[in-house]
Symmetry: C2
Subunit: 243 residues, 2 copies
Amino acid sequence: MQRITIAPSQINDNYISLTPEQHHYLTRVLRLQTDGQFQAIDGTGQLYLCEIAAANAQIIQLITPLVGELPPPITLICALPKGNNFDDIVRACTELGVMTILPAISDRTLLVPSPQKYQRWCKIAQEATEQSERLTSPTVAEPRALQRILSELPDRSYKYLCEARGEHPHLLTCLQSSQLIDLPIIIAIGPEGGWTPAEIQLALTHNFQLVSLGRQILRTITAPIVALSIVTAAIEQILVPKS
Amino acid sequence: MQRITIAPSQINDNYISLTPEQHHYLTRVLRLQTDGQFQAIDGTGQLYLCEIAAANAQIIQLITPLVGELPPPITLICALPKGNNFDDIVRACTELGVMTILPAISDRTLLVPSPQKYQRWCKIAQEATEQSERLTSPTVAEPRALQRILSELPDRSYKYLCEARGEHPHLLTCLQSSQLIDLPIIIAIGPEGGWTPAEIQLALTHNFQLVSLGRQILRTITAPIVALSIVTAAIEQILVPKS
């Protein structure tokens, strides 16, 4: 069944006030008639079965989640890469269950993106949430300086800064030696050319642990997907004990 | 220093017969003069320091590998996805150290790609080898039926078939309970809609183990990158013991 994302504020009693765009999508693109059913997620973990009712929609049922979210919230701090590659990072990391994406302007970031780009990322996160049948949309923050991002992170969390070509312990090893599901997990991935020494020093003062993603030389677009893959695999292992 | 990929057959004594395309790239695009230096990899693990010498190039030195290849060769069997997404799979999996990519025509493969596509994948693998500073280009095979691919695999290898939404043990758990670096590793990833029951049965008769990549619902383009990320992380952990 087709699924759309709504804002919680669109719900009033058992009705959803559809935006003109949503109404057009449901009735013109999907060609749903009155009483035609679809699913709606509100981005906070609720999934509803709905029916078209004139210009709006009626909620028929709150459906039990089909796919669980991973228990510890995962935050990705990602230095903005060149070009349009951040789109792909947002899409793949949303599939992989990220809860918060913090695009960072780092010393080696070349271009600060336009507000249009930021809105595009939010839309991509929403689409990827629907496609991957997640119930919670990740939050994509507006790009900010790394320094400011680091200063606003929760103290009690597992924080890992990935550095290429370093002699650091592997992310998987670090994750597997932590309790892992008791605290939020924060992963920071650098730009083309990597983090500057000053940025690494700053991260250390914010209690980040320096980790490696292995001996491969990864593009900036591949590294976050690799890191998230390792994080989710390590969490799955804890949730589903070895048989 | 700029790097190009040559075929081993281009080397004769200490000289490399450059193709017109390579010569153009070195002298026109990179603007190297006579005696200008560049690096060449031959796709089999050798890295050479070279100098332009008239229409050809002279090998100055065989350079010690900078970045090691992972010891067990990794083979990816990947059912062809819709659209042009296989390009991205080839690129990212090359970065991640795959040695052999076997595009598979499965029951749910919709379109058999043209020979041009196949040549394009080989070119992408070569480019990604250079960019990720690997010394060995992965082999990309021509698309073949899954049945034929499975029948030609080496017997002595670790074989994992990834299935979405199954109740299988996690790939990471399976890898960590194996010796891992003593035998080749073969990972099979299905198409949109997954493997058919007949294909799963066939894989079982070829001694594949059914594994999960976790509770997330991944696109066909994301799944191979996630699987390879987990494989390389597990290998790294064995190579670099916990401190």
